[in-house]
Amino acid sequence: MAKITYIEHDGTEHSVDVKTGLSVMEGAIKNNVPGIDADCGGACACATCHVYVDAAFEGKTGEKSAMEESMLDFAENVEPNSRLSCQIKVTDELDGLIVRLPESQH
């Protein structure tokens, strides 16, 4: 289990426990966090699970694949700390992770 805090664009916080092995996206879906739609269910095909990773965790969320880089390159409101949350596996090291959500995913 890792505690993950998802912060909606309007500032609403959702702190939930997510089982290790799931993705950060799956943690949001299972806990009904608004703002992460994940149309493709984690196939890295849609960029509707875009999040901004808190600076303290940037080194711990793994490397972006070429596919993820390419999808993010064309997503809206992309920042250097943007990630597709379906591509971040939850590990014990991510306990306390904070991710912020963009205004819109489409």
């Binding site: 095909a45 849609c46 390419s70």
Partner: protein, 409 residues
């Protein structure tokens, strides 16, 4: 006119129904929700059943949309192994297969589609399979493995995805297709040519333009597929993937308009203001294409679930989305945005020989649809351009040295 305390009854606990319950709670709906599904398990993702799940790369836990406790914790009465058998719109009640009667303030059809069957002798033999549900996938997985021979009836996405997964599991896969090309209903011929060559190079065999006349078995189990030309294809199991039929019978019987699916408006509402329908079962407006159509896709189900939940909870309307689809086969990622309605030109960007290219369907200088193979920029930018109706320069679009960010006319 919204009533946040209204009792919402959702028929169908698939991806659409599950998402509907979740989006209602996200939208602040407070009233009771009853979610009725005929499968023994709660809402889960179906797309991985032919891909990651079949190959053993995803487990049941990751497929489930919510943990089982979520439903009770969120005022959602999840009734499983049950289906609605009657609808009385006057009394606003549904009758269930258990005999129980459930009243509603708002009813949502999320009944999905069922696999089309082949009405031929032997269709009820053991080992003649279809793929819609997790239980179907379990049976299919059990039939695959090193050296097993799978006959796949139908060269659509389900058939091709299963063929790729079967090869990954060491099984033989033969696709039998009635049309003269695979993906005939759903993709352009350039894509058909590419995918058939890619599959053949990885050991999948194909018979095109063939008619199946019977499944033949021994001891109640399938042993071969008989073709109209007399040939027999030996196999250990057969998967029938020849399309789906909307589960709209109950709506039809209750007098709701159905045209290959339940007719709804842009709010996912039927002509009865208290009855909505979402997902594969709907015949819905496509404002970008100025027509009604039935879409079978998760993004469509999620869009309509979100729209309907917003309408029920009195939220501001959402902008219609560009329809999109995806398919994973071997190391190929196919992403399709839009639909090729009314297109007058087909333009290929990139070289199919490199397994990285996109086919654009243009109407004048506007993109109607894009089919992108291992090409996320073409998909992402194409989807935006379909949505915002910006004109493109076909010359620049065909030139891979020009970035997708610079193809606008």
């Amino acid at each position: 006119m919204s009533d946040l305390k209204a009792k919402v009854v959702i028929l169908g606990a698939g991806h659409a129904g599950g998402a509907m319950a979740a989006f209602l709670r996200q939208a602040g709906h407070e009233g009771p929700i009853v979610l009725i599904g005929d499968e023994p398990i709660g809402p889960y993702q179906r797309p991985p059943l032919s891909k990651a799940w079949l190959k053993g790369e995803a487990d049941a836990d990751s497929l489930a949309l919510k943990d089982p406790a979520w439903y009770a914790d969120n005022g959602c009465d999840l009734k499983l192994g049950v289906r609605a058998t009657g609808l009385n719109r006057g009394d606003k009640t549904v009758t269930l297969s258990t005999g129980e009667t459930v009243s509603y303030d708002i009813l949502v059809f999320a009944t999905g589609a069922r696999a089309r069957k082949l009405p031929i002798p032997g269709a009820d033999l053991q080992g003649v399979l279809e793929l819609r549900t997790a239980a179907d996938a379990e049976a299919l997985k059990a039939a695959l493995g090193e050296g097993k021979r799978l006959a796949i009836i139908g060269g659509g996405y389900v058939g091709l995805e299963v063929a790729a997964s079967a090869r990954a599991l060491g099984a033989h896969a033969m696709v039998l297709e009635r049309e003269t090309r695979i993906l005939a209903r759903v993709a352009c011929s350039q894509l058909s040519d590419f995918f058939i060559a890619y599959h053949k190079a990885r050991g999948v065999s194909f018979e095109l333009g063939v008619e199946i006349t019977a499944f033949e078995g021994e001891g109640g189990h399938i042993r071969r597929v008989r073709l109209a030309d007399g040939r027999a294809i030996d196999c250990d199991a057969a998967l029938v993937g020849i399309g789906a039929i909307p589960n709209d019978d109950l709506a039809k019987d209750a007098g709701l308009e159905c045209v290959n699916g339940i007719v709804v408006d842009l709010d996912a509402r039927t002509a009865d203001p208290d009855v909505f329908a979402i997902g594969d079962v709907t015949h819905r407006p496509l404002p970008l294409y100025d027509r009604q159509f039935r879409l079978e896709s998760v993004p469509n189900a999620l869009e309509q679930a979100k729209v309907a939940a917003g309408v029920i909870a009195g939220k501001p309307p959402l902008t219609p989305e560009v329809p999109w689809f995806w398919s994973d086969q071997f190391d190929l990622k196919l992403q399709i945005a839009g639909l090729p309605f009314d297109a007058d030109t087909i333009l290929v960007r990139g070289d199919p020989a490199t397994a990285k290219f996109a086919v654009f369907h243009l109407k004048g200088d506007q993109i109607q649809a894009v089919e992108a193979v291992n090409s996320p920029p073409e998909f992402m930018m194409g989807k935006q351009l379909i949505g915002n109706r910006k004109a493109v320069s076909p010359e620049r679009l065909a030139d891979t040295t020009v970035s997708m960010k610079e193809v606008i006319a």
